[in-house]
């Protein structure tokens, strides 16, 4: 498909182009989104207003009144004017999203090569599905790893330095690099592109994290990403009703964590409450753990962080014995508290609450009574 004049910055682009085409006009005057008058020439020459239409390759005048269906659809798509039939035709005629011609999948959609648009798409999807942090975390790592994406990100980084992005005019897909070009003209960015792009730019310091020097950078990127995500996805207004203050710290109303110990696994959910504890959906803590020291294990994180009686605890445990389950629950509660307020992690450091004890029972070994126990020595027989 050949290049067409850029009209996205106009207020009513498609209607005016269509009207001009119908009248066999070679140029028409329109208004951009700011309300300034702009003259658009469709066949040749420059309009002298510095719009992008001058940069684009002009269509031949003979075909002006007879735009191909591709051209019409592309124009309408770019202009944001869609009737039902147009949308259906766009969908039917659009090329597969995946570069390797695999069927349409969400993952491929994220990994499509439309550069910075990927970031915006992902973050929009994140915001839409309400799973901002984890998904974005995963994608950040992907950005570091994935060649194409990292290349694209580095290309996105360049325009601020070199003034021109990687999305060339020959690219059939409208890229973020091209959208950046509109900055100069209209001074208005498409919605949702600024924050995420800025975040990606700052965060995506391209060092593979498995290399020694890349580790710290990844951490830095992670730190920055976390702050950005926190700022953009939660916001002070939204977070105000999800958090509360306790002992000078800000705590989330709900948090969860998982922990393991020996063969036991535990999942703890803490909610703002009065200190009720429920194990496996129905049992009281003193019923489930008969011994005090097991219960002390479970509730130790609350004691260390000073949040006893502040949260209700709902814990599911499975596998192992009572002691292992108690320690697994302890780890889960500790992680949940860190999730609720990260700055409390230091309080639990001394008692190694957050230490994941991955030791497992040794298997029985041949020639021995058990894993380490040896046969008793007998003098005779």
């Amino acid at each position: 498909m050949r290049d067409l004049p850029k009209t996205a910055h106009l207020r009513r682009p498609w209607a005016e182009i269509r009207w001009a085409c119908a009248r066999q006009q070679r140029s028409f005057t329109s208004e951009d989104r700011r309300g300034a008058k702009v003259e658009i020439q469709l066949d040749d020459g420059s309009d002298g207003t510095g719009t992008k239409a001058t940069d684009a390759k002009k269509p031949s005048s003979s075909r002006l009144g007879q735009l191909s269906i591709d051209e019409v659809l592309y124009l309408s798509k770019e202009a944001g004017v869609e009737t039902t039939k147009e949308v259906q035709a766009i969908i039917m005629k659009s090329p597969p999203f995946s570069p390797d011609r695999s069927p349409f999948l969400l993952e491929n959609f994220f990994e499509s090569s439309d550069g910075g648009g990927a970031g915006s798409l992902v973050t929009e999807a994140d915001a839409e599905f309400g799973l901002p942090r984890d998904v974005a975390d995963g994608l950040d790592l992907c950005l570091d790893k994935h060649d194409a994406l990292s290349h694209q990100v580095s290309a996105d980084l360049e325009p601020h330095e070199s003034g021109r992005g990687g999305g060339g005019p020959s690219s059939p897909v409208h890229t973020a690099g091209e959208e950046d070009d509109f900055d100069d003209g209209s001074g208005e960015l498409p919605k949702g592109s600024l924050g995420e792009l800025e975040g990606e730019r700052v965060g995506a310091v391209v060092h593979p994290p498995h290399t020694p020097q890349g580790k710290g950078d990844t951490v830095t990127a992670h730190v920055v990403n976390q702050m950005i995500l926190k700022a953009f996805h939660g916001g002070p207004d939204q977070q105000a009703h999800k958090t509360f203050e306790h002992k000078g710290r800000e705590w989330r109303l709900e948090a969860e964590g998982r922990g393991t110990r020996a063969r036991a696994v535990a999942h703890a959910v803490i909610k703002r409450g009065t200190g009720q504890v429920l194990v496996n959906g129905g049992a009281d803590v003193y019923t489930w753990w008969n011994y005090f020291y097991n219960r002390m294990d479970v509730l130790q994180p609350f004691l260390l962080t000073g949040t006893a009686g502040v949260y209700d605890l709902f814990v599911n445990v499975r596998g192992g014995g009572p002691s292992g389950q108690a320690c697994a629950a302890r780890l889960a509660v500790g992680r949940a508290l860190v999730s609720a307020c990260g700055s409390c992690a230091g309080d639990m450091q001394e008692d190694l609450v957050l230490y994941d004890d991955t030791r497992q029972k040794w298997p029985k070994m041949p020639g021995r009574r058990a894993a380490r126990k040896q046969r008793q020595w007998r003098k005779r027989g």
Partner: protein, 561 residues
């Protein structure tokens, strides 16, 4: 690890894209970032469910790969960086200033002026009511139920007053009982339109404490309270038992002890209560109704009568014998009964004389009736009316039982029958450990071999637990029955109240301590010097540790401090 290509299904994880150009590690990372489940967690069930498109059961205890990475990353971050990532307070966060509430500790005990005025309010829930020890002994001479005696033994002082906490169910019940205490029915007579309360709850929640509070309140408010703190001992302590003809085992010693305890506090009230004549003397020696006891002999009488009739039909009975017999019977009846019985004896002699013929069906039936009547008269159920013909008040019945051990059980059952009819005082029959009336006792009997009781006598076949085991509060004309029970304590039997005819609205469940109640409990122990050095800042922690359960709290506090 690249995932196997599979059809996208609604419940299964989305397929992982294949990127042949990327190294394996990167492919894996991409896969996990896309939200795919880690391949290691694929069990047979998951495969099956994927194959048949069944919903996959999510297990919340599984640790996903993403979380592992998150934890690993967290471990890499230093404390300063943590503070950067998770600042203690966000920039835009503006907490509302919390108002400092004044300490309510001065009101650990219910104010005496409230008690004097009878004004116990909702504010007093969770506070202790103090009893001077001597007054408590006088008020509840049957003994306190539950673990309150243990509390008292833990006090270092022998004279300090004893506190009982006012719990929410106790407050509710008291307020309800205050409404019905002076209630009159449609006919203008005293009545209480209420069956009673079943105090329910897990072990250590304070059921017995509630009952103690209730009994103390009722006694002070002018109720007649029959209080049994421990029916368990009747089924588990050693005592003499005698089997009656109806199959109930009589416990005379225990009954005497019970009557003695009842009479200590209630003597004056019992003396003021008249005996209801219509139902007096109906109880048999084992407490069952005398008509029921008479029916036990019916099969025996029937057998003898049939034998006699057969003899007469076969002519084995001579005329002389039959005449003699008829005369004897007529003499007996004339001695016992008045003029009516003479007529009966006449008919008996007239019908009974001579041999019967097989064709005379009417004659046979008449003879059968005559014999049946004659033999049934010989069955005598000893009635209390014979020994104590006209007691003036209920205490005389109790006193008679105390004087005669053989009649103790009968007296106790007569007393309870009389209490059903009385309207002099509002009555409360309070039983703790009610569930102990239902499992087997420790007494063995050959009669219960090869039954579901496995050779042990069930407790409700012993007369003393049998006295309390029925949920018959509705039969008390001006009274209620209050039973405290824990369904899961004794022998881990799961009793259902509805099978015992307890209505749902009659059940009052006692829950664990609230935080305020727990704080008061600790403060009370501190005041009584049961615990010495309790760290105040750990109060919430200990509340979580014990779950607010009274039993656990007592154990923990007594152990640690």
């Amino acid at each position: 690890m690249p995932a196997l290509p599979s059809l996208p299904s609604q419940h299964a994880a989305p397929p992982i894209p294949r990127h042949r150009s990327l190294p394996r590690q990167q492919r894996q990372l991409l896969a996990t970032a896309a939200g795919a489940a880690p391949a290691v967690r694929r069990s047979g069930d998951a495969r099956l469910s994927r194959r048949y498109d069944l919903p996959v059961e999510t297990d919340s205890t599984l640790v996903s790969e993403r979380e592992r990475r998150h934890m690993a990353r967290l471990a890499m971050i230093t404390e300063e960086e943590q503070m950067d990532i998770y600042p203690a307070v966000t920039v835009g966060f503006a907490p509302t200033p919390t108002e400092v509430e004044p300490v309510k500790r001065p009101f650990l005990y219910i104010p005496p002026e409230n008690l004097a005025a009878g004004e116990i309010g909702v504010d007093d829930i969770g506070r202790f009511r103090l009893f001077v020890r001597d007054s408590l002994t006088e008020l509840i001479p049957e003994g306190l139920c539950g673990e309150l005696p243990k509390d008292i033994t833990m006090f270092p002082s022998r004279t300090t007053p004893v506190g009982i906490m006012l719990r929410k169910p106790a407050f509710e019940m008291i307020s309800q009982l205050q409404q019905v205490q002076q209630h009159r029915g449609a006919d203008g007579g005293w009545t209480i339109p209420k069956g009673g309360f079943l105090i329910d709850g897990h072990r250590g929640t304070g059921k017995s404490a509630v009952l103690n509070f209730l009994v103390a309140w009722a006694r002070e408010s002018g109720w007649l309270v029959i209080f049994e703190p421990s029916p368990r001992r009747y089924a588990h302590e050693i005592g003499e038992i005698k089997r009656s003809n109806t199959g109930v085992y009589i416990q005379s010693e225990f009954t005497q002890q019970f009557l003695e305890r009842v009479s200590v506090r209630n003597r004056e009230m019992l003396e003021r209560m008249p005996v209801h004549g219509a139902c007096y003397g109906d109880s048999a020696i084992d407490g069952s109704h005398h008509l029921y006891t008479q029916r036990v002999y019916d099969p025996l009488i029937g057998k003898v009568v049939q034998q006699r009739i057969d003899d007469k039909l076969s002519g084995r009975v001579s005329e002389e014998e039959s005449e003699e017999e008829g005369e004897e019977e007529s003499e007996e009846s004339s001695e016992e009964e008045s003029g009516e019985s003479e007529g009966e004896s006449e008919t008996a002699t007239s019908g009974g004389g001579g041999a019967l013929s097989k064709d005379d069906a009417i004659g046979i039936q008449r003879e059968r009736l005559r014999l049946w009547h004659a033999y049934r008269k010989e069955v005598k159920i000893p009635s209390l009316r014979d020994r104590l013909p006209s007691p003036e008040n209920l205490y005389e019945i109790v006193d008679f039982g105390l004087q005669n051990e053989a009649f103790a059980t009968q007296c106790a059952y007569e007393l309870f029958e009389q209490l059903k009819k009385q309207t002099t005082f509002p009555l409360m029959i309070a039983v703790d450990q009610w569930n102990e009336c239902f499992p087997v006792s420790e007494y063995l009997s050959i009669k219960y071999e090869n039954t579901k009781y496995n050779g042990y006598i069930p407790a409700f076949h012993l007369t003393m637990p049998r006295l309390f085991h029925k949920w018959d509060g509705w039969q008390l004309k001006r009274g209620i029955k209050v039973a405290a029970t824990c369904w899961k304590y004794a022998n881990r039997r799961d009793y259902r109240p509805e099978l015992l005819k307890v209505k749902r609205e009659e059940v009052r469940t006692v829950r664990n301590f609230s935080a305020f109640e727990f704080a008061n409990f600790v403060a009370y122990y501190r005041r009584k010097r049961v615990i010495q050095h309790f760290p105040r800042e750990k109060l919430d922690y200990f509340y979580m540790l014990t779950g607010g359960n009274g039993f656990q709290s007592r154990r923990l506090l007594a152990m640690l401090y």
